[in-house]
Protein backbone atom coordinates (compact mmCIF):
# COMPACT_ATOMS: atom_id res chain seq x y z
CA UNK A 1 0.00 0.00 0.00
CA UNK A 2 1.25 3.46 -0.90
CA UNK A 3 2.07 5.41 2.25
CA UNK A 4 1.67 9.12 2.99
CA UNK A 5 4.94 11.03 3.02
CA UNK A 6 6.42 13.32 5.66
CA UNK A 7 8.83 15.81 4.16
CA UNK A 8 10.98 18.17 6.22
CA UNK A 9 11.75 21.36 4.35
CA UNK A 10 15.01 23.25 4.47
CA UNK A 11 14.50 26.89 3.50
CA UNK A 12 18.00 28.09 2.82
CA UNK A 13 19.32 31.63 2.68
CA UNK A 14 23.03 32.33 2.21
CA UNK A 15 23.91 28.74 3.02
CA UNK A 16 21.96 28.55 6.30
CA UNK A 17 18.54 27.09 7.05
CA UNK A 18 16.10 29.81 8.03
CA UNK A 19 12.47 29.88 9.02
CA UNK A 20 10.07 32.80 8.98
CA UNK A 21 6.45 33.73 9.41
CA UNK A 22 4.39 34.42 6.29
CA UNK A 23 7.67 34.21 4.35
CA UNK A 24 9.16 37.07 6.45
CA UNK A 25 10.99 37.61 9.79
CA UNK A 26 13.60 34.98 9.03
CA UNK A 27 15.39 33.27 11.91
CA UNK A 28 18.45 31.01 11.70
CA UNK A 29 17.63 27.33 12.14
CA UNK A 30 20.92 25.58 11.47
CA UNK A 31 23.31 24.01 8.98
CA UNK A 32 21.55 22.42 5.98
CA UNK A 33 23.79 19.34 5.71
CA UNK A 34 23.53 18.56 9.41
CA UNK A 35 19.77 18.97 9.39
CA UNK A 36 19.40 16.88 6.23
CA UNK A 37 21.31 14.01 7.83
CA UNK A 38 19.33 14.33 11.05
CA UNK A 39 16.00 14.08 9.22
CA UNK A 40 17.21 11.18 7.10
CA UNK A 41 18.09 9.33 10.28
CA UNK A 42 14.71 10.20 11.81
CA UNK A 43 12.95 8.49 8.92
CA UNK A 44 12.00 11.38 6.64
CA UNK A 45 10.42 10.08 3.43
CA UNK A 46 11.89 12.83 1.31
CA UNK A 47 13.60 16.12 1.77
CA UNK A 48 12.94 19.48 0.16
CA UNK A 49 15.58 22.16 -0.12
CA UNK A 50 14.47 25.64 -1.18
CA UNK A 51 16.92 28.44 -1.84
CA UNK A 52 14.31 31.00 -0.88
CA UNK A 53 15.98 34.16 -2.07
CA UNK A 54 17.57 32.85 -5.27
CA UNK A 55 14.66 33.85 -7.48
CA UNK A 56 14.17 37.27 -5.93
CA UNK A 57 17.88 38.01 -6.07
CA UNK A 58 17.99 36.76 -9.66
CA UNK A 59 20.76 34.20 -9.17
CA UNK A 60 21.14 30.45 -9.43
CA UNK A 61 21.06 27.82 -6.73
CA UNK A 62 24.08 26.84 -4.65
CA UNK A 63 25.09 23.74 -6.59
CA UNK A 64 27.87 22.74 -4.21
CA UNK A 65 25.44 22.76 -1.29
CA UNK A 66 23.05 20.55 -3.26
CA UNK A 67 25.91 18.11 -3.85
CA UNK A 68 26.87 18.04 -0.17
CA UNK A 69 23.29 17.35 0.88
CA UNK A 70 22.75 14.72 -1.82
CA UNK A 71 25.84 12.87 -0.63
CA UNK A 72 24.46 12.19 2.85
CA UNK A 73 20.95 11.17 1.78
CA UNK A 74 19.52 7.92 0.47
CA UNK A 75 16.00 9.29 0.15
CA UNK A 76 14.56 11.48 -2.60
CA UNK A 77 15.61 15.04 -2.59
CA UNK A 78 13.82 17.98 -4.23
CA UNK A 79 15.55 21.29 -4.89
CA UNK A 80 13.93 24.61 -5.70
CA UNK A 81 14.56 28.32 -5.84
CA UNK A 82 15.69 30.39 -8.79
CA UNK A 83 15.31 27.62 -11.39
CA UNK A 84 14.61 29.30 -14.71
CA UNK A 85 15.79 27.11 -17.56
CA UNK A 86 16.35 23.57 -18.83
CA UNK A 87 20.06 24.08 -18.15
CA UNK A 88 19.34 25.05 -14.54
CA UNK A 89 17.30 21.87 -14.12
CA UNK A 90 20.00 19.71 -15.69
CA UNK A 91 22.63 21.23 -13.41
CA UNK A 92 20.56 20.65 -10.26
CA UNK A 93 19.72 17.04 -11.19
CA UNK A 94 23.38 16.39 -12.01
CA UNK A 95 24.31 17.72 -8.59
CA UNK A 96 22.25 14.96 -6.99
CA UNK A 97 18.68 16.24 -6.75
CA UNK A 98 15.93 13.84 -7.81
CA UNK A 99 13.34 16.48 -8.52
CA UNK A 100 13.27 20.19 -9.05
CA UNK A 101 10.64 22.54 -7.76
CA UNK A 102 9.76 25.42 -10.08
CA UNK A 103 7.71 28.38 -8.95
CA UNK A 104 8.28 31.88 -10.35
CA UNK A 105 9.70 30.70 -13.68
CA UNK A 106 6.77 28.33 -14.23
CA UNK A 107 4.33 31.23 -13.84
CA UNK A 108 6.30 33.54 -16.09
CA UNK A 109 7.08 30.90 -18.70
CA UNK A 110 4.60 27.99 -18.45
CA UNK A 111 6.14 26.26 -21.49
CA UNK A 112 9.14 25.50 -19.26
CA UNK A 113 6.98 22.92 -17.45
CA UNK A 114 6.10 21.22 -20.71
CA UNK A 115 9.61 21.23 -22.09
CA UNK A 116 11.16 20.08 -18.82
CA UNK A 117 8.72 17.23 -18.32
CA UNK A 118 9.33 15.98 -21.85
CA UNK A 119 13.08 15.94 -21.36
CA UNK A 120 13.41 14.82 -17.75
CA UNK A 121 10.05 13.11 -17.20
CA UNK A 122 7.06 14.51 -15.28
CA UNK A 123 8.12 12.65 -12.15
CA UNK A 124 10.97 15.03 -11.49
CA UNK A 125 9.11 18.27 -12.16
CA UNK A 126 7.40 19.67 -9.08
CA UNK A 127 5.45 22.87 -9.60
CA UNK A 128 5.43 24.93 -6.44
CA UNK A 129 2.57 27.36 -5.94
CA UNK A 130 2.52 30.07 -3.27
CA UNK A 131 -0.99 31.33 -2.61
CA UNK A 132 -2.89 33.81 -0.47
CA UNK A 133 -6.59 34.02 0.16
CA UNK A 134 -8.49 36.93 -1.32
CA UNK A 135 -11.79 37.47 0.48
CA UNK A 136 -14.66 38.78 -1.55
CA UNK A 137 -18.37 39.53 -1.23
CA UNK A 138 -19.02 38.17 -4.68
CA UNK A 139 -20.40 34.66 -4.89
CA UNK A 140 -19.16 34.32 -8.45
CA UNK A 141 -16.46 35.75 -10.64
CA UNK A 142 -15.81 35.57 -14.36
CA UNK A 143 -12.17 34.58 -14.06
CA UNK A 144 -11.66 33.34 -10.47
CA UNK A 145 -12.73 30.16 -8.73
CA UNK A 146 -14.68 31.49 -5.76
CA UNK A 147 -15.25 29.13 -2.85
CA UNK A 148 -17.77 29.52 -0.04
CA UNK A 149 -16.15 29.92 3.37
CA UNK A 150 -17.64 30.02 6.84
CA UNK A 151 -17.94 33.78 6.63
CA UNK A 152 -18.16 34.87 3.03
CA UNK A 153 -16.27 33.88 -0.09
CA UNK A 154 -12.69 33.68 -1.20
CA UNK A 155 -10.39 32.73 -4.02
CA UNK A 156 -6.67 32.08 -3.95
CA UNK A 157 -4.18 34.39 -5.62
CA UNK A 158 -0.77 33.20 -6.85
CA UNK A 159 2.37 34.92 -5.52
CA UNK A 160 5.82 34.82 -7.07
CA UNK A 161 9.37 35.82 -6.04
CA UNK A 162 9.20 33.94 -2.76
CA UNK A 163 5.84 35.39 -1.72
CA UNK A 164 6.81 38.94 -2.52
CA UNK A 165 4.59 39.70 -5.48
CA UNK A 166 0.89 39.11 -6.11
CA UNK A 167 -0.04 38.43 -9.71
CA UNK A 168 -3.84 38.34 -9.51
CA UNK A 169 -4.11 34.82 -10.95
CA UNK A 170 -6.47 32.06 -9.83
CA UNK A 171 -4.33 29.45 -8.05
CA UNK A 172 -6.76 26.57 -8.61
CA UNK A 173 -6.89 27.20 -12.35
CA UNK A 174 -3.12 27.60 -12.44
CA UNK A 175 -2.71 24.27 -10.66
CA UNK A 176 -4.88 22.50 -13.23
CA UNK A 177 -2.96 24.11 -16.06
CA UNK A 178 0.42 23.22 -14.56
CA UNK A 179 -0.64 19.56 -14.38
CA UNK A 180 -1.81 19.60 -18.00
CA UNK A 181 1.57 21.01 -18.99
CA UNK A 182 3.35 18.12 -17.30
CA UNK A 183 3.87 18.87 -13.60
CA UNK A 184 4.33 15.57 -11.77
CA UNK A 185 3.55 16.95 -8.34
CA UNK A 186 2.25 20.16 -6.82
CA UNK A 187 3.80 21.71 -3.74
CA UNK A 188 1.31 24.15 -2.29
CA UNK A 189 2.24 26.82 0.25
CA UNK A 190 -0.05 29.35 1.86
CA UNK A 191 1.10 32.84 2.79
CA UNK A 192 -1.85 33.10 5.16
CA UNK A 193 -0.81 30.04 7.15
CA UNK A 194 2.98 29.83 6.72
CA UNK A 195 4.80 29.87 10.04
CA UNK A 196 1.60 30.51 12.01
CA UNK A 197 1.37 26.98 13.44
CA UNK A 198 -2.41 27.27 13.00
CA UNK A 199 -2.71 24.28 10.68
CA UNK A 200 -2.69 23.89 6.90
CA UNK A 201 -5.22 25.62 4.64
CA UNK A 202 -7.52 22.58 4.52
CA UNK A 203 -10.12 24.18 2.28
CA UNK A 204 -7.46 24.97 -0.29
CA UNK A 205 -6.08 21.42 -0.13
CA UNK A 206 -9.55 19.93 -0.53
CA UNK A 207 -10.32 22.11 -3.53
CA UNK A 208 -7.01 21.16 -5.13
CA UNK A 209 -7.29 17.45 -4.39
CA UNK A 210 -10.54 17.12 -6.25
CA UNK A 211 -9.28 19.10 -9.23
CA UNK A 212 -5.91 17.59 -10.04
CA UNK A 213 -4.76 14.02 -10.71
CA UNK A 214 -1.15 14.29 -9.49
CA UNK A 215 0.15 14.00 -5.92
CA UNK A 216 -0.19 17.10 -3.74
CA UNK A 217 2.38 18.11 -1.14
CA UNK A 218 0.77 20.28 1.53
CA UNK A 219 2.91 23.02 2.99
CA UNK A 220 2.62 25.90 5.46
CA UNK A 221 1.03 25.97 8.87
CA UNK A 222 1.97 22.77 10.68
CA UNK A 223 1.96 23.51 14.41
CA UNK A 224 1.00 20.18 15.91
CA UNK A 225 0.47 16.54 15.02
CA UNK A 226 -3.22 16.95 14.38
CA UNK A 227 -2.58 19.58 11.72
CA UNK A 228 -0.54 17.09 9.72
CA UNK A 229 -3.14 14.37 10.19
CA UNK A 230 -5.86 16.70 8.90
CA UNK A 231 -3.86 17.80 5.85
CA UNK A 232 -3.46 14.14 4.84
CA UNK A 233 -7.04 13.07 5.63
CA UNK A 234 -9.50 15.99 5.34
CA UNK A 235 -7.22 17.89 2.95
CA UNK A 236 -6.55 14.79 0.87
CA UNK A 237 -2.85 15.63 0.47
CA UNK A 238 -0.41 12.84 -0.42
CA UNK A 239 2.47 14.31 1.51
CA UNK A 240 2.93 16.89 4.24
CA UNK A 241 5.83 19.26 4.32
CA UNK A 242 6.87 20.97 7.53
CA UNK A 243 9.78 23.06 8.72
CA UNK A 244 9.55 24.81 12.09
CA UNK A 245 8.18 21.88 14.07
CA UNK A 246 11.21 19.83 13.04
CA UNK A 247 13.91 22.53 13.09
CA UNK A 248 13.18 23.62 16.64
CA UNK A 249 12.85 20.06 17.91
CA UNK A 250 9.14 20.22 18.74
CA UNK A 251 8.63 16.82 17.12
CA UNK A 252 10.84 14.29 15.38
CA UNK A 253 9.77 12.86 12.03
CA UNK A 254 9.31 9.55 13.85
CA UNK A 255 6.88 11.05 16.35
CA UNK A 256 4.77 12.51 13.56
CA UNK A 257 4.62 9.15 11.83
CA UNK A 258 3.75 7.27 15.02
CA UNK A 259 0.83 9.62 15.54
CA UNK A 260 -0.38 9.20 11.96
CA UNK A 261 -0.12 5.42 12.19
CA UNK A 262 -2.13 5.44 15.42
CA UNK A 263 -4.87 7.31 13.55
CA UNK A 264 -4.97 4.87 10.68
CA UNK A 265 -2.86 6.73 8.12
CA UNK A 266 -0.45 4.40 6.27
CA UNK A 267 3.12 5.58 6.84
CA UNK A 268 6.61 4.13 6.62
CA UNK A 269 7.81 3.53 10.17
Amino acid sequence: MLTKRIIPCLDVKQGRVVKGIGFKELKDAGDPVELALKYYEQGADELVFLDITASYEGRGILVSLVERIADVLYIPFTVGGGIRSIDDIRRILRAGADKVSINTAAVQNPSLIKEASEIFGSQCIVVSIDVKRVYTDEEQSTDKTVVKMENGYCWWDVYIYGGKQSINMDALKWAERAVKLGAGELLVSSLDFDGTKQGYDLILLKELSRRVSVPIIASSGAGDLDHILKALTIGGADAALAASIFHYGQYTVGEVKQYLAKHGVPVRL
Binding site: D45, D71, Y74, I75, F77, G96, F120, C124, E185
Partner: protein, 205 residues
Protein backbone atom coordinates in the same frame (compact mmCIF):
# COMPACT_ATOMS: atom_id res chain seq x y z
CA UNK B 1 37.11 -4.58 -6.45
CA UNK B 2 33.92 -5.00 -8.43
CA UNK B 3 33.78 -2.62 -11.36
CA UNK B 4 30.37 -1.25 -12.20
CA UNK B 5 29.60 0.94 -15.18
CA UNK B 6 26.54 3.15 -14.84
CA UNK B 7 25.29 4.13 -18.28
CA UNK B 8 24.58 7.76 -18.73
CA UNK B 9 21.96 7.58 -21.48
CA UNK B 10 19.64 10.27 -20.32
CA UNK B 11 19.45 13.35 -18.25
CA UNK B 12 19.08 13.23 -14.53
CA UNK B 13 20.51 12.39 -11.16
CA UNK B 14 23.22 9.73 -11.34
CA UNK B 15 25.02 10.85 -8.21
CA UNK B 16 22.77 8.94 -5.81
CA UNK B 17 23.17 5.60 -7.59
CA UNK B 18 26.94 6.15 -7.75
CA UNK B 19 27.03 6.90 -4.01
CA UNK B 20 24.84 3.89 -3.22
CA UNK B 21 26.97 1.46 -5.25
CA UNK B 22 30.21 2.83 -3.84
CA UNK B 23 28.87 2.41 -0.33
CA UNK B 24 28.20 -1.21 -1.26
CA UNK B 25 31.86 -1.64 -2.11
CA UNK B 26 31.90 -1.16 -5.87
CA UNK B 27 34.13 0.96 -8.03
CA UNK B 28 31.79 3.03 -10.19
CA UNK B 29 32.24 4.67 -13.55
CA UNK B 30 29.51 6.85 -15.05
CA UNK B 31 29.80 7.00 -18.81
CA UNK B 32 27.90 6.98 -22.07
CA UNK B 33 30.82 5.27 -23.85
CA UNK B 34 29.78 1.74 -24.68
CA UNK B 35 33.45 0.72 -25.04
CA UNK B 36 33.80 0.94 -21.24
CA UNK B 37 31.66 -2.21 -21.02
CA UNK B 38 34.83 -4.26 -21.72
CA UNK B 39 36.30 -3.34 -18.34
CA UNK B 40 33.09 -3.85 -16.37
CA UNK B 41 31.99 -6.69 -14.10
CA UNK B 42 28.48 -5.33 -14.11
CA UNK B 43 26.46 -2.58 -15.73
CA UNK B 44 23.64 -0.47 -14.40
CA UNK B 45 20.83 1.14 -16.34
CA UNK B 46 19.86 4.05 -14.10
CA UNK B 47 16.34 5.16 -13.47
CA UNK B 48 16.00 8.69 -14.65
CA UNK B 49 14.61 10.35 -17.75
CA UNK B 50 12.00 9.49 -20.32
CA UNK B 51 11.92 6.35 -22.49
CA UNK B 52 12.36 7.93 -25.96
CA UNK B 53 15.69 9.58 -25.08
CA UNK B 54 17.07 6.41 -23.52
CA UNK B 55 15.80 4.25 -26.40
CA UNK B 56 17.80 6.39 -28.81
CA UNK B 57 20.98 5.56 -26.90
CA UNK B 58 20.01 1.90 -26.70
CA UNK B 59 19.42 1.59 -30.44
CA UNK B 60 23.14 1.94 -31.13
CA UNK B 61 24.41 -0.01 -28.13
CA UNK B 62 22.06 -3.00 -27.91
CA UNK B 63 24.46 -5.49 -29.52
CA UNK B 64 27.46 -5.01 -27.20
CA UNK B 65 25.09 -5.02 -24.22
CA UNK B 66 23.50 -8.27 -25.36
CA UNK B 67 26.87 -9.93 -25.80
CA UNK B 68 27.98 -8.65 -22.38
CA UNK B 69 24.95 -10.38 -20.85
CA UNK B 70 25.43 -13.51 -22.98
CA UNK B 71 28.97 -13.85 -21.63
CA UNK B 72 27.63 -13.82 -18.07
CA UNK B 73 27.99 -10.13 -17.21
CA UNK B 74 25.55 -8.84 -14.60
CA UNK B 75 23.11 -6.04 -15.19
CA UNK B 76 20.87 -4.03 -12.88
CA UNK B 77 18.07 -1.95 -14.36
CA UNK B 78 16.39 0.63 -12.17
CA UNK B 79 12.97 2.18 -12.87
CA UNK B 80 13.29 3.43 -16.47
CA UNK B 81 16.35 1.18 -16.63
CA UNK B 82 14.08 -1.79 -15.88
CA UNK B 83 11.61 -0.75 -18.54
CA UNK B 84 14.41 -0.53 -21.13
CA UNK B 85 14.92 -4.27 -20.73
CA UNK B 86 11.45 -5.04 -22.07
CA UNK B 87 10.39 -5.59 -25.65
CA UNK B 88 8.77 -2.25 -26.26
CA UNK B 89 7.42 0.87 -24.57
CA UNK B 90 4.37 2.99 -25.29
CA UNK B 91 5.83 6.06 -23.54
CA UNK B 92 5.84 9.01 -25.93
CA UNK B 93 5.16 6.78 -28.97
CA UNK B 94 6.35 3.26 -29.64
CA UNK B 95 9.98 2.60 -28.82
CA UNK B 96 12.00 -0.60 -28.85
CA UNK B 97 13.67 -1.82 -25.70
CA UNK B 98 16.38 -4.46 -25.32
CA UNK B 99 13.78 -7.29 -25.46
CA UNK B 100 15.61 -9.27 -22.76
CA UNK B 101 12.29 -9.68 -20.94
CA UNK B 102 9.22 -10.21 -23.12
CA UNK B 103 6.61 -7.60 -22.41
CA UNK B 104 5.30 -4.13 -22.99
CA UNK B 105 5.81 -0.94 -20.98
CA UNK B 106 2.40 0.69 -20.49
CA UNK B 107 0.90 3.58 -18.55
CA UNK B 108 -0.51 3.02 -15.06
CA UNK B 109 -4.34 2.94 -14.98
CA UNK B 110 -6.13 6.27 -14.69
CA UNK B 111 -8.05 5.36 -11.52
CA UNK B 112 -4.99 6.28 -9.44
CA UNK B 113 -2.87 9.42 -9.23
CA UNK B 114 -0.10 9.44 -11.81
CA UNK B 115 2.88 9.52 -11.34
CA UNK B 116 2.97 6.83 -8.66
CA UNK B 117 5.17 8.65 -6.17
CA UNK B 118 6.18 7.51 -2.74
CA UNK B 119 6.97 4.51 -0.55
CA UNK B 120 5.00 1.40 -1.41
CA UNK B 121 5.18 -2.23 -0.29
CA UNK B 122 6.55 -5.16 -2.26
CA UNK B 123 5.02 -8.63 -2.18
CA UNK B 124 7.81 -11.14 -2.62
CA UNK B 125 7.10 -14.06 -4.96
CA UNK B 126 10.58 -15.55 -5.15
CA UNK B 127 12.59 -15.47 -1.94
CA UNK B 128 15.45 -17.11 -3.82
CA UNK B 129 16.17 -13.99 -5.85
CA UNK B 130 19.71 -12.89 -4.89
CA UNK B 131 18.61 -9.24 -4.91
CA UNK B 132 16.06 -9.93 -2.17
CA UNK B 133 18.32 -11.73 0.27
CA UNK B 134 17.37 -10.66 3.84
CA UNK B 135 14.63 -8.37 2.50
CA UNK B 136 11.26 -8.97 4.18
CA UNK B 137 7.95 -9.36 2.46
CA UNK B 138 6.02 -6.09 2.77
CA UNK B 139 9.14 -3.89 2.80
CA UNK B 140 8.59 -0.28 1.73
CA UNK B 141 10.58 1.02 -1.22
CA UNK B 142 10.54 4.34 -3.05
CA UNK B 143 8.72 4.47 -6.39
CA UNK B 144 8.39 7.28 -8.87
CA UNK B 145 7.02 6.35 -12.29
CA UNK B 146 4.05 6.68 -14.63
CA UNK B 147 4.63 3.52 -16.68
CA UNK B 148 5.14 -0.09 -15.66
CA UNK B 149 6.45 -3.31 -17.17
CA UNK B 150 3.57 -5.48 -18.26
CA UNK B 151 5.30 -8.86 -18.58
CA UNK B 152 4.24 -11.42 -21.17
CA UNK B 153 2.86 -14.75 -19.93
CA UNK B 154 6.15 -16.48 -20.73
CA UNK B 155 7.88 -14.31 -18.10
CA UNK B 156 5.90 -15.48 -15.06
CA UNK B 157 9.06 -17.07 -13.71
CA UNK B 158 10.99 -13.80 -14.01
CA UNK B 159 8.81 -11.92 -11.51
CA UNK B 160 10.38 -11.90 -8.04
CA UNK B 161 8.20 -9.26 -6.37
CA UNK B 162 5.05 -7.32 -7.15
CA UNK B 163 3.48 -4.07 -6.03
CA UNK B 164 -0.10 -2.86 -6.07
CA UNK B 165 -0.94 0.60 -7.36
CA UNK B 166 -4.14 0.66 -9.41
CA UNK B 167 -2.84 -2.59 -10.87
CA UNK B 168 -0.49 -5.30 -9.64
CA UNK B 169 2.79 -4.73 -11.47
CA UNK B 170 6.22 -6.40 -11.26
CA UNK B 171 8.53 -4.46 -8.94
CA UNK B 172 11.50 -6.87 -9.01
CA UNK B 173 12.34 -9.11 -11.97
CA UNK B 174 15.33 -11.26 -12.82
CA UNK B 175 16.51 -13.82 -15.32
CA UNK B 176 20.02 -15.22 -15.43
CA UNK B 177 22.44 -12.49 -14.43
CA UNK B 178 20.01 -9.66 -15.23
CA UNK B 179 18.07 -7.96 -12.43
CA UNK B 180 15.70 -5.03 -12.39
CA UNK B 181 13.62 -3.04 -9.94
CA UNK B 182 10.78 -0.62 -10.63
CA UNK B 183 11.58 1.22 -7.38
CA UNK B 184 14.74 3.22 -6.74
CA UNK B 185 17.00 1.26 -4.35
CA UNK B 186 19.40 4.22 -4.24
CA UNK B 187 16.57 6.34 -2.84
CA UNK B 188 14.98 3.75 -0.55
CA UNK B 189 17.01 4.33 2.61
CA UNK B 190 18.79 1.44 4.32
CA UNK B 191 16.60 -1.28 2.72
CA UNK B 192 17.47 0.05 -0.71
CA UNK B 193 21.17 0.09 0.13
CA UNK B 194 20.86 -3.55 1.22
CA UNK B 195 19.45 -4.40 -2.22
CA UNK B 196 22.38 -2.67 -3.93
CA UNK B 197 24.72 -4.55 -1.63
CA UNK B 198 23.00 -7.81 -2.58
CA UNK B 199 23.63 -6.99 -6.24
CA UNK B 200 27.34 -6.39 -5.58
CA UNK B 201 27.51 -9.60 -3.51
CA UNK B 202 25.94 -11.51 -6.39
CA UNK B 203 28.65 -10.23 -8.76
CA UNK B 204 31.38 -11.30 -6.36
CA UNK B 205 30.15 -14.90 -6.24
Amino acid sequence: MVRVVVFDYAVGNLRSIKNGLERSGAEVLITSEIAEIKKADAIVFPGVGAFPEAAKWLSSTADPIKSFIASGGALLGICLGMQLLLTMSTEGGLYKGLDYFKGLVVRLPSNVKIPHIGWNTIKIRDYGCPLLEDISDGSLLYFVHSYYAKMSDVEVGSIDAETLYGVVFPSVISKGSVFATQFHPERSGEIGLKILKNFIQYIRR
